[in-house]
């Protein structure tokens, strides 16, 4: 089942001539790397950069794709996920984009990847210190719904005045009885900067804390880059009497039976029949394979999940 790379038409994977390695020119890549170095030096702080126009629309990962282009090398192996899946349009296209413009190896397996570009999820498989996680960020400023003035937002960051963020959480509790923010849940990085973790579910927030992998965030439209260096503390905001909690499901994944992973709820027919499956497709297949090894019975049909 890991042979999916070879299933894609060979022509689509062929390297195209006429582009610089990984599409962007070297000066642009240097500029982005300088921003990345600054970002790593000040964990969680947003660094402006000269975002280029990319051959995909804003909102589709222009920030992430530029960060990936700036850090990718010939020896890297790239994995791209969108909502946890390797098979969605965005993931397939960005993976193919780098396969064609950089000629790098691509994979769908988390353990094989050296760079994972992601939208909306952190892989369930724990990352190592040899991997880099690149996030696509639509809105890097966690305060923007509360404080529309950009200059004032910067001031709040500079002076470490983050009481405002708790006003939002307070409103959540008032209206919903608990903190109802479930994605893009605000975090404090390294005990200092308030950051938006991009629209990952809050289920993934604890994975950011002390993660061995380097985490880079690119926002193309907003022209900001920020980073969480390896082994950096990431604390989700909360109240003393309403502590941070992650989502839990009563169901197990219907394909692999996992109770540990983030589940997607899918409606499978017109009568509203539901099915809960892992959002991380690679993790799900691994669990199925493990199950198959254990029972020595092939799960041919289950391994085919798209």
């Amino acid at each position: 089942m890991n042979a999916r790379d070879t299933n894609e038409p060979a022509r689509a994977e062929a390297i195209v001539e006429g582009y610089n390695f990984a599409y962007l020119d070297e000066q642009t890549k240097r500029m982005i790397r300088r921003a990345l170095l600054k970002a790593v030096a000040i964990p969680g702080h947003q660094i402006p950069f000269g975002s280029r126009e990319m051959p995909l629309p804003y909102g589709w990962g222009t920030g992430g794709i530029q960060v990936t282009a700036a850090i990718i090398g010939h020896d890297d192996t790239l994995k791209v996920i969108d909502q946890g899946s390797d098979e969605t349009t965005n993931a397939v296209n960005i993976r193919r984009f780098f396969a064609r413009t950089a000629g790098v190896r691509t994979t769908t397996r988390t353990v094989e990847a050296t760079i994972v570009q992601t939208r909306h999820r952190i892989p369930e498989t724990p990352l190592t210190d040899r991997q880099i996680l690149v996030y696509q960020v639509p809105m890097p400023e966690p305060l923007y719904r509360l404080e529309p003035r950009v200059a004032e937002c910067r001031k709040l960051h500079a002076l470490n005045e983050y009481g405002l963020m708790n006003v939002k959480l307070y409103e959540d509790i008032v209206r919903h009885g608990s903190i109802a923010t479930t994605y893009d849940y605000p975090v404090i990085v390294n005990g200092r900067y308030l950051s938006a973790p991009s629209p990952i579910p809050k289920f993934d927030n604890p994975k950011m804390h002390m993660n061995p992998a380097l985490q880079l965030f690119g926002a193309g439209r907003e022209r900001r880059i920020y980073a969480i260096p390896p082994y950096t503390s990431v604390r989700s905001l909360d109240f003393e009497d309403h502590p941070f909690e992650i989502q839990r499901w009563e169901h197990a994944c219907e394909i692999c039976g996992s109770r540990e992973s983030f589940l997607d709820e899918m409606i499978v027919d017109d009568k509203g029949k539901r099915m809960f499956v892992c959002s991380d497709s690679d993790y799900c297949q691994e669990q199925v394979a493990k199950g198959a090894e254990a029972t020595q019975t092939p799960h041919a049909t289950q391994g085919e999940r798209a």
């Binding site: 005045e161 009481g163 307070y170 008032v174 109240f239």
Partner: protein, 256 residues
């Protein structure tokens, strides 16, 4: 006793025009100072200068903090200034919409200053907010309503609660009763008088309403054309006005 706030020769200019010029006063803890004068006389400019919202062109402004430290406000660093505003000062805007966050509930509005100074216990923040809503005579049952659901007078009282919740020592008010109908004004004034006395608050209140000044103020400053033309104890100024403009102002009040 050292004054809480001490201004000397305070001048603010808007380009070549004068906002306020050469204003000096001392404000002692627990004292209510009213600034009266016609529109354009520089009252609001003076208040904004004192609140450090408008840069002063000349003069000095000193403040004594709760722990006895004397601060030169005009040369205060921004972090220090913001901390002071959060912890020891309040500012009540003329229009409550400017001083409130209209898209979050009343409780969050009152709780925000607490969260800004580090409160992180939902239950306690809520209890304090509820208590303060009671103190400004708002129905604590409506703690989860948006300010837009409140009347003008209620919004103004909510704004006052929001400003007093952190226990400030100095509150600046810009025409707090303007735009309210007479009966609501009377209640608000009564409330303000009670609160300032109870909390031993020092206040600078800008108003064009002599009635407000007479009811609330210990001392009065009369401004005209950016200058203070007369100042003194409220009753003294109002009952025995010396300056022609003050005489005009006092005599133009409609008899009740």
């Amino acid at each position: 006793m050292t004054p809480l706030l001490s201004a000397r020769g305070l001048t603010t200019r808007y380009g070549a025009r004068i906002g306020c010029e050469d204003v000096s006063f001392d404000l002692y803890p627990g004292e209510v100072l009213c600034v009266v004068g016609e529109s354009g006389s520089g009252k609001s400019t003076l208040l904004n200068t004192v609140a450090l919202r408008v840069p002063a062109a000349a003069g000095s402004l000193d403040y004594t903090t709760a722990n006895g430290e004397s601060l030169d406000l005009l040369n205060l660093s921004e972090p220090r200034r913001r901390l002071l505003m959060r912890t020891e000062w309040g500012f009540v805007e003329q229009n409550p919409r400017d001083g409130l966050r209209m898209n979050v509930s009343a409780g969050a509005n009152v709780g925000e200053p607490l969260m800004a100074v580090g409160a992180r216990h939902f239950g306690k923040i809520r209890a304090t907010a509820s208590n303060w809503m009671g103190r400004v005579e708002l129905d604590a049952q409506r703690i989860d309503d948006l300010p837009t659901a409140f009347s003008g007078g209620m919004q103004q009282r909510l704004q006052i609660a929001r400003n007093l919740v952190t226990g400030p020592r100095l509150v600046l008010m810009d025409e707090p009763t303007a735009g309210l109908d007479v009966s609501v004004q009377a209640r608000l004034l009564d409330l303000l008088r009670t609160l300032t006395a109870q909390l031993h608050l020092a206040c600078v209140i800008v108003t064009h309403d002599i009635g407000v000044a007479r009811l609330l103020a210990h001392r009065l400053m009369v401004m005209q054309g950016g200058r203070v033309v007369e100042s003194g104890l409220t009753d003294q100024v109002l009952d025995d006005p010396q300056h022609p403009y003050t005489q005009l102002l006092v005599s133009s009040v409609l008899p009740a």
